[in-house]
């Protein structure tokens, strides 16, 4: 097919021809075309199907307000549903298909819905499909769902990348039509830092679509010169293909720049960039959107907004039809006729509602054939240009929930008084619907805002244009029309639906919208909402402003979810924190696990080991038998210094800290202020004024934050300073009976004998001949154990040195799993027990909470319900049948009790297989648990299909007296 409807003129590059595919058919167009203009040039009228009735639809607009011409662009994983043909720039090889039909676009089986329309009126689905009850989910809903939606996702990962960027400016100008360009010129010349953004690929807005002159030359030429001048200014950034989609707090705007959507492939570069623009001031020059008129069968392919017809003719050199009729309620109708005539397109009639003429019906199933007037006259036409007036694009002015106000003279909503702070509106967006006024308003606004921001260079002259008249008399729908008249084209909302909504009591604008789905399609009712509102106003006997307006919410136009996510996807969803021994661990067969942001070694597989349990059992057993080493750098470390450091810690921890001697470590239990157990760890006193705290890995950040809160907000004059040193020190646990001889080889001049360096001792020292270190004799495994810390830069050499020194003891590295096994064997609480819901009493640590001092959480921990005798207590469990494996998350029930919540006795928190004991061991919370040692109860886990008997025992499965760690 050739470009049968291509006419002269326009801003397309005829020297280049682009080939593209539409529904598997090859067509051609030129650079500068949109997919819509190229389709029209090729004589394609039918481009899609409506949502509910599957009515044949054609191109309705020439911009982002398009309700009908939604296509699936590209193929494979890059397939992009619901893409507006009117905003897609044509590129060579473009592939697009129509959507929302079963069978071909021409013969859509779902079009049968149209015949059932009387039974599918507003809200019909709320009134039926209820009987029999089971049929909803089995029959009705699957059927409804199967016809839901428009385009289709590929089901495959989006192959493109998206970037995020941040920009700052004095003045953000949104829209580069006449007002925006005039404002940018004035502000740029005045010296302000300006960002000028426009969603189109070509700046100029309506200047490119109309035949007006500015400063004695064509509007399009003037725009091109203005853009050239702006490009030359260093203080102005011009951004085409950039939609400012939302206004946020404190002058922040969201914008989407389409970087590669107009290219055949993005070639590895970002497809789109999501900008956050920080502005001092913003000027909204987003223009206005033309609206339709509702009359019988006004949805046929070929019925088009008049402004769009002018755009296709003037900008793209395409005649949307050969015989064009015009329906208008304002001066734009005549303008359209003049522009078309100038291009040699035949005008079949100008029907002006102000003269009492209107259209009641149309014919032509897949393309418009004729229109019928209210006087009965039938006019043949293959294109009908409709202008129902213009609605200023006030959307962004409402993003802070401001409401627009009604202006009767232009029959439109204009920006209200409560704009987002810093925003000004100019041009058509402010209700100036003539070119001269728009240019003057833009120029004046740009100059004034710049001056207010202190940029006082000369803004230049106001661009001049002929002040053509704009007169409109509101005309919304043709009452005498007996046929269905569409209000919302995409969602198939007709005037009857709006009236029925009123009839059934859904009269507030929000009810109207929700009941009929008016304005909820992908175009958000840009061309439809005001029509629906006017019909509701009429039915209610109210004015339009009394009837109200729905709130506009971001985004102005839909934004790809991928753009919001940016680079944060796949492995890059969140950053990685690696431990100092990570490289060494990789070399030694470690299997890593995500622990918050950290990657930690969970076990080190040896040749011949079949599953993870083999490795973990070996690591735990060898540690208890000889010695093992584990990287515990991920534990939070906080350096606390100052004359009041001890007093400060005494308020942070629930147990006493004032009298901790220098050179000693103490276990500390932190409560939240609400009295619930929060975190635990050890704190070492290195000097009178210097402490080093460890926290759990999970709470490292929030514990530090809370300590700063206590320091700065509660007791601001305590002499104490905090710094997080989690990343500053590499720390290793060295555990097992041979930990002492191993470490003795490592430390310089330090006696590690039990007398000289007993359990809970600490010191600063050096290792390997001068490397600074800190040594703590603490044990999480229950063995004789130490933790040794060196500055992080020595972490890698430290693990290598320790492993070499331990060779004679057959030292093993152990991972988080063996760490977990040993702490469960020993009965230490960890994350599964310290889950933010348990008290010190629950943990069996109630005695630690000092009543002699005021510490965070101590007061509220005294509340009655948290101190009940029948409350949960942490105890140990082992399977009655020692061969059985316990399950974490099992609930406890008394033998013989029914399985219900009323008889719930608690739950198993942590389990492990103990290689030392040769059976599974568990920890858990049990009602009155500490009084029930020896009892046999059920561990019931229906989601794991498990129900076994367990014996209640001490949580300290091994060495309950603690002889090993003290030895």
């Amino acid at each position: 097919m050739t470009q049968v409807n291509r006419i002269e003129g326009g801003q397309i590059d005829r020297s280049n021809t682009l080939k593209f595919q539409w529904n598997e058919r090859w067509l051609s167009g030129h650079p500068g075309d949109t997919l819509a203009s190229a389709l029209l040039a090729n004589g394609v009228k039918l481009v899609g199907r409506s949502f509910k009735y599957h009515r044949p639809r054609g191109i309705f607009s020439a911009g982002s307000e398009e309700p009908n011409a939604l296509v699936q662009l590209r193929k494979g994983a890059a397939q992009e549903p619901n893409t507006r043909a009117t905003t897609v720039e044509l590129f060579d090889g473009l592939y697009a298909t129509s959507q929302n039909h079963r069978g071909s676009l021409e013969w859509d089986l779902m079009a049968a819905n149209d015949l059932l329309a009387p039974f599918l009126s507003a809200g019909f689905y709320y009134k039926t499909f209820m009987w029999p009850k089971a049929f909803w989910e089995k029959l009705y809903e699957p059927f409804i769902r199967s016809s839901a939606g428009l385009g289709r996702l590929s089901g495959r990962p989006d192959p493109d990348i998206y970037d995020h960027g941040y920009l700052h400016c004095d003045l953000l100008i949104i829209g580069a039509g006449p007002a925006g360009l005039a404002a940018a010129l004035a502000a740029g010349r005045a010296g302000a830092r300006v960002i000028l953004a426009d969603e189109d690929f070509c700046m100029g807005g309506r200047l490119n679509s109309e035949s007006y002159d500015v400063d004695g030359q064509s509007g399009a030429n003037w725009a091109a010169l203005a853009v050239t001048e702006l490009h030359a200014m260093e203080n102005v950034r011009c951004m085409t293909r950039t939609t400012v989609y939302g206004s946020y707090d404190h002058g922040i705007y969201g914008a989407l720049e389409r970087k590669a959507d107009h290219l055949a492939t993005s070639e590895g570069k970002p497809r789109q960039v999501l900008w956050r623009i920080y502005s001092q001031r913003a000027l909204l020059t987003a223009g206005a959107t033309e609206r339709s008129i509702a009359f019988g069968n006004n949805d046929r392919p070929g019925v088009m907004l008049a402004g769009a017809v002018r755009t296709f003719v003037n900008r793209f050199g395409v005649a949307p039809g050969r015989e064009v009729a015009i329906l208008t309620n304002n001066e734009d109708g005549l303008r359209t006729a003049a522009d078309l005539k100038a291009k040699g397109v035949q005008i079949r009639g100008v029907i002006d509602t102000r003269k009492g003429e209107t259209i009641v019906d149309t014919t032509g199933r897949k393309a418009l054939k004729s229109v019928t007037l209210n006087n009965g006259r039938k006019i043949s036409a293959d294109c009908l240009a409709v202008s129902g007036g213009w609605s200023p694009n006030v959307h962004l002015t409402c993003h802070h929930r401001g409401r627009p106000t009604w202006r009767e003279d232009i029959a439109a909503f204009v920006p209200g008084g409560d704009l987002p702070p810093g925003m000004t509106v100019a041009g058509a967006a402010a209700g100036h619907l003539t070119l001269a006024a728009t240019l003057a308003d833009g120029h004046e606004s740009g100059a004034r805002i710049s001056a207010e921001l202190g940029h006082a260079n000369a803004p230049g002259d106001t661009p001049s244009a002929e002040d053509e008249p704009f007169e409109t008399t509101a005309f919304w729908h043709v009452k005498e029309s007996k046929r269905r008249a569409w209000v919302d084209l995409q969602n198939d909302v007709t005037t009857k639906d709006v009236k029925q909504s009123h009839q059934e009591g859904f009269r507030s604008v929000e009810h109207l919208k929700r009941y009929t789905t008016l304005g909820m399609a992908t175009d958000q009712g840009k061309t439809a909402n005001i029509l629906g509102l006017s019909i509701m106003a009429e039915a209610s006997g109210k004015t339009i402003p009394e009837t109200g307006t729905t709130i506009f919410r971001p985004p102005y136009n839909p934004v790809a979810i991928g753009a919001f996510a940016g680079r944060a996807r796949g492995k890059d969803f969140r950053y990685f924190r690696l431990t100092p021994s990570h490289k060494w661990a990789e070399e030694n067969g470690a299997d890593f696990v995500e622990t918050g942001m950290w990657l930690r070694a969970q076990w080190f597989k040896k040749p011949g080991e079949k599953g993870w349990r083999d490795s973990v059992d070996r690591e735990a057993a060898q540690t208890r038998k000889s010695v093992g080493i584990c990287d515990v750098t991920t534990l939070g470390k906080i350096d606390i210094q100052g004359r009041d450091a001890a007093a400060f810690l005494n308020r942070i921890y629930s147990n006493p800290f004032l009298k901790l001697p220098v050179g000693k470590v103490r276990y500390g239990l932190m409560l939240r202020e609400d009295g619930i157990a929060y975190d635990d760890g050890t704190t070492a006193r290195l000097s009178e004024t210097h402490f080093v705290m460890t926290t759990t890995t999970a709470n490292a950040v929030t514990v530090f934050r809370n300590m700063e809160f206590v320091r700065q907000c509660l007791w601001p004059d305590l002499d104490v300073h905090l710094i997080s040193t989690t990343d500053g020190w590499a720390q290793f646990a060295v555990a097992g009976p041979n930990s002492r001889p191993l470490l003795q080889k490592v430390v310089d001049d330090l006696d590690l004998s039990n007398d000289a360096f007993p359990f809970m001792a600490c010191t600063e020292c050096t290792v390997f001949g001068g490397t600074p270190a800190r040594l703590f004799r603490i044990s999480f495994s229950g063995e004789l154990a130490y933790e040794i810390a060196v500055p992080t830069r020595f972490g890698d050499s430290m693990i290598r040195g320790l492993m070499a020194a331990g060779e004679e003891f057959e030292v093993v590295p152990y991972g988080t799993e063996a760490l977990g096994v040993m702490r469960i064997e020993k009965g230490h609480a960890a994350g599964n027990e310290l889950n933010g819901q348990t008290s010190a009493q629950n943990l069996g640590l109630g005695g630690m909470v000092s009543k002699k001092k005021d510490a965070i959480g101590s007061k509220l921990s005294e509340r009655d319900e948290m101190n009940r005798d029948d409350d949960l207590r942490l105890v140990g469990f082992r399977p009655k049948d020692r061969a059985a494996l316990l399950t974490a998350g099992a609930h406890f029930l008394r033998r013989g009790d029914p399985e219900d919540m009323a008889h719930d006795q608690g739950w198993m928190t942590s389990v492990a297989y103990s290689p030392e004991l040769g059976h599974s061991v568990g920890l858990g919370f049990l009602k009155r648990g500490s009084e029930r040692i020896g009892e046999t109860i059920r561990a019931y886990s229906p989601v794991r299909n498990q129900d076994i008997l367990v014996e209640v025992c001490s949580p300290h499965h091994i060495d309950p007296e603690g002889e090993r760690q003290r030895g």
Binding site: P81, W136, R145, D158, A560, E899
Partner: protein, 416 residues
């Protein structure tokens, strides 16, 4: 008018001219037995159950705006009963059971659609916690299963199994979870209450309470004084502002939760899916839009709008588990104001003021609770005793030291 396929047929053949208003637009009477403040989902449900289950029909629902304009009008429509704690689980299971019979009960198709809810698991501790939760659900008579990655892959082949930062290790699956057409719930309750004699007074803002000798005897409204034997406040999002008129401070902060919907897409996502290593939950509506959300913005606010960091965080979560949605476009985002309570759980209780009752603190989980909240509040109002599934939702629970803290974050409302 009873709604049915036959009625639709009849009306369709006669030009749809016979439909009558779904509710009246009555003028307020001088006095009612009970005035419910707030015509959102919970308020309308309360009125409905008062009339239907407890025979109390001399009731008014007083609404500042249009009926259903509470958070029932803006939410992510999810229903489920996958709660952990004894104070919550039976209540939410009761609610789910009411959802299951709702349409036949009130003769309105709210499209209760039990396509299941899948909470993904990404770590061992999370699995332990979900096993505990699943068992608690089973003990309460709810349904729950733990699935492995292979089973999930069969159900949702498009999730990121191979390149995820936090690999999918399993899921807890509640087949009876699902979604509901949220506005229709408000309309169904309103219609059901109205036809039983309840007056729904729209555009009737409450300005104050009628207080006599320390007791509450009605409300002052934009349409004049309305006396009542009992006043039942039910205005989540504005609870502090309304109760302040009675001199009460509440254990509640107001926060904004944003929610999002994509353009309409052919059906891809069967039920509800939630990400376990970030803030993202998603379902697909019967119209084809992906309906999704995440965390609250975190700062106190009464403005029904949020900011970009959370929008990005939510979309990052979405792309992390289902990278196919990158090319779907976000169509609309909105913000609703939530009553964030100090433990993440609600209140259905009498206040210390005679005649004044409070239903509040639903955080961002109020939608699924709508039927049970209405039922239990109606029970309390009608009998002055809490319903057996709502005995824990007392205002004094913090004094006693009995918070109902599902997440374990303590008295920090923006973390619940």
């Amino acid at each position: 008018m009873r709604y049915s396929a036959l009625q639709i047929l009849k009306e369709g053949l006669t030009g749809n001219k016979g439909w009558i208003p779904a509710w009246r637009e009555p003028e307020p009477k001088a006095e009612y037995d009970i005035v419910i403040v707030g015509g959102g989902g919970h308020g309308l449900a309360t009125a409905y159950y008062l009339a239907k289950e407890f025979g109390v029909t001399n009731v008014a629902v007083v609404e500042k705006g249009w009926l259903g304009s509470g958070n029932i009008g803006r939410n992510t429509t999810i229903i489920r009963s996958n709660y952990l704690l004894e104070g919550n689980q039976p209540f939410y299971e009761f609610s789910l059971k009411l959802w299951e019979g709702l349409e036949q009960d009130f003769n309105y198709n709210a499209m209760v659609s039990q396509r299941g809810i899948l909470n993904l698991i990404h770590s061992d501790p999370q699995r332990d916690a979900f096993v505990r939760r699943g068992n608690a659900m089973r003990l309460s008579g709810a349904d729950a299963e733990i699935l492995g990655p292979d089973e999930i892959r069969k159900m949702c082949p498009y999730l990121d199994y191979d390149n995820a930062r936090f690999p999918i290790q399993g899921a807890i699956w509640q087949p009876r979870g699902g979604t509901v057409r949220h506005d229709a719930v408000a309309w169904g309750y309103a219609r059901g209450a109205d036809c039983r004699g309840v007056d729904i007074l729209q555009n009737c803002e409450v300005i104050g309470f009628v207080m006599e000798k320390g007791s509450c005897h009605g409300v002052e409204t934009a349409k004049g004084t309305i006396r009542a034997k009992k006043v039942a406040v039910c205005v989540a999002g504005s609870s502090s502002r309304v109760m302040e008129k009675a001199g009460m401070r509440l254990p509640i902060e107001s926060h904004v939760l944003q929610a999002f919907v994509s353009e309409g897409l052919k059906p891809t996502i069967p039920g509800v899916i939630t990400f376990g290593a970030g803030h993202f939950y998603v379902s697909q509506s019967d119209k084809g839009g992906l309906v999704f959300g995440g965390d609250i913005d975190g700062y106190n606010t009464y403005a029904q709008r949020g900011n970009l960091p959370v929008v990005e965080d939510v979309c990052e979560g979405g792309m992390a588990i289902m990278p196919m949605i990158g090319r779907a476009r976000l169509l609309r985002m909105w913000g609703g104001v939530m009553d964030m309570s100090m433990d993440g759980s609600p209140f259905i209780d009498k206040t210390h003021i005679d005649g004044l009752y409070l239903n509040a603190g639903w955080c961002y989980g109020g939608f699924k609770a709508t039927p049970a909240s209405g039922f239990c509040y109606a029970h309390l109002l009608a009998t002055d005793r809490p319903h057996e599934t709502a005995t824990a939702y007392r205002l004094d629970r913090f004094r006693r030291g009995a918070p109902i803290d599902e997440k374990g974050h303590g008295a920090q409302p923006n973390l619940h």
